[in-house]
């Protein structure tokens, strides 16, 4: 049923070459045998009318199996790095055309992702077959632990964590509530108690009359707050590692031409014979560099904001 999803009929594009150009060329190293794209695409096309653009796309995809040097100028003039002239791309299209093109491309992305998912399933099956018994460990996902200094954790280690935590808590409660008072444990420096400590420091003796409930509350609160802080710091550091350093995860950099304002100040001077005083005429117009957005593509993460521009989609890794 899933493959009955039919790409919405693509409008006859005014510039089919441009449409085709927008599909990035496959990386040269990826050539795991002949991929039967043409067959799959055939099923998906179904009864939809096929424009010249789509057919060209199919032709390209069916040759995806052959290793081809990146940047094959014959089929595409597409360049992934943005430049001041990229706002001219697709400039001739009408608004309805643009909408339809967007819809058809989103459909194609959806279908391609599904294909990737199935291919990854097959790939996983093949590699696990060759590796044999090591399937066990690879199926357990490795979750980085949020407790500082602890290595990776997993649902198995959670049991250990529960056990250790509970025993610690019970132990401390027993110790603090029962054992220490019974033994009259004095944990100050040199075996002094809190009272002795206050007396030696020559501080007012009321301080030594601290209420035990208040004391335990304060101690507990300090412990909890510092623990939460450590966990948060570690979390932020991990997220930062995944983030693109150049754009801080936003995917964009401030446009230098308009200093991130989006507007350019154009001053034209002219002189009128009668009016000598005012001969400067300034107009604000949209910045040509960023077309008014105030920001431009970050070329390192290609607008994804993450250090690795892969699709973060569960369909990429169906076994995780």
């Amino acid at each position: 049923m899933s493959l009955c999803l039919v790409a919405s009929p693509a409008t006859r594009a005014a510039s089919p070459s441009r449409l085709v150009a927008a599909v990035p060329p496959p990386p040269p190293w990826r050539s795991r045998g002949e991929l039967h794209f043409s067959v799959v695409w055939g099923k998906m096309r179904g009864g939809a009318s096929v424009s010249a653009g789509q057919r060209q796309v199919v032709r390209r995809c069916s040759s995806a199996g052959e290793p081809r040097p990146a940047g094959d100028g014959g089929l595409s003039s597409f360049c992934i790095i943005e430049g001041p002239e990229t706002i001219q791309d697709f400039v001739q299209m009408q608004s309805q055309e643009i909408q339809d093109n967007i819809k058809s491309r989103r459909n194609k992305i959806f279908l391609l992702m599904e294909e990737v998912r199935r291919l990854r399933v097959q790939q996983r099956i093949r590699t696990s077959e060759s590796r044999g018994a090591s399937i066990e460990e690879s199926e357990m996902p490795e979750i980085p632990s949020s407790i500082p200094f602890l290595p990776n954790t997993s649902p198995k280690t959670m049991k250990q964590l529960y056990l250790t935590s509970f025993s610690f808590i019970t132990g401390i409660i027993f110790f603090g509530g029962l054992i220490a008072p019974v033994l009259e444990l004095k944990l100050g420096l040199g075996g002094t108690s809190y009272e002795d400590f206050i007396r030696t420091m020559h501080m007012p003796f009321q301080l030594s009359q601290v209420d035990p409930i208040v004391a335990s509350f304060s101690g507990g609160a300090v412990g909890v707050i510092s623990a939460l802080m450590l966990v948060e710091i570690r979390n932020v550091r991990q997220q930062e590692k995944k983030r693109c350093t150049y754009c801080h995860g936003t995917g964009y950099l401030p446009c230098a031409r308009c200093s991130a304002s989006g507007m350019l100040l154009n001053t034209k001077s002219f002189s009128l014979s009668c009016d000598k005083g005012h001969n400067m005429w300034s107009t604000t117009e949209r910045c040509t560099n960023c077309s008014g957005a105030g920001k431009v593509m970050c070329p390192t993460c290609l607008c994804t904001g993450v250090a690795m521009a892969s699709e973060h989609d569960p369909r990429i890794d169906p076994f995780d």
Binding site: W29, S77, I80, I81, Y246, R257, S259, P299
Partner: protein, 382 residues
Amino acid sequence: MAASSSSALWTAHHHLFLRPSNTTHRRRPVPPSAAVRPLAASLVATAPVAAATRRTAAEEAVYEVVMRQAALVEEAAAPTRRRWAEDAVAGWGLLADAYDRCGEVCAEYAKTFYLGTQLMTAERRKAVWAIYVWCRRTDELVDGPNSSYITPKALDRWEKRLEDLFEGRPYDMYDAALSDTVSKFPVDIQPFKDMIEGMRLDLWKSRYRSFDELYLYCYYVAGTVGLMTVPVMGIAPDSKASTESVYNAALALGIANQLTNILRDVGEDSRRGRIYLPLDELAEAGLTEDDIFRGKVTDKWRKFMKGQIHRARLFFDEAEKGVVHLDSASRWPVLASLWLYRQILDAIEANDYDNFTKRAYVNKAKKLLSLPVAYARAAVAS
């Protein structure tokens, strides 16, 4: 014959950087004996084939760039390049932010280098950060996580952006920082273009047949950095060395650094299917590409590596001679970084030349120890 042609190429530069020079160059033919021999020529003598004064095509090309940069420095009494004047008032805040971000990127990716920049003056620090970020961004285009999307056309566009920023029309924030830097310091555009050329090489070239080819590649990706930063570091006004010799030394430092990288990362590169060692020298040592891919350390390998390390050390020695002619404030950081990087070669030797599986690195203690010694050496040199 080569010597006379080289003297014809020479323009006698005895005006030094920062001195108000006469506006016309005085072209005086320099007798060949006084000419500073290009670095590689002296090293070519160690290679079995070439004569001592023969210069290869690669060295010629590189040499011409050095000359042009030196000439640019000479005529830059006042920077004629247009400053980034558009929206000058609005741009101020953005520029300070841009430089700060450059510093952040530098601190993130090159911690030792970042510490080194702390030893420089504030203006130089910012300039070096801006240059570092541009070089790193360029390198990440072909070596980073998204390199599979990069085509030669993408590099062409990157080059167009470079030309725009040199003319005062930067595209984004980091370009703006570099644009400001090149308007303050007399940096030539050619080393930057050459670095992009080096990236183009990396897109398709994975084998180097001779040291000449490798030298050109090392120039493209590392020698250019030396040429970019010398105008920023500045040459000492009272130095008696010619501008070209300082540039040659900077070039040598870049080449030495790159050779060290190559020798350290043999295993890593081979796993990506790349060999950055000259194939003819490998064959001479009786080694094949398979030996490298297999990654076993044999006596043949040790002998081969000894020769390569020796050559890298020669480049370091040439570079060190030029450091003393830099501006006094810049000597310490450059010398320190030179020593630190040279210690990586020692680490490779200590690993018994196993650069397939072991990563040669210099531990923190050694790094810290080099600093005061480098300081003393830099202060003494005059």
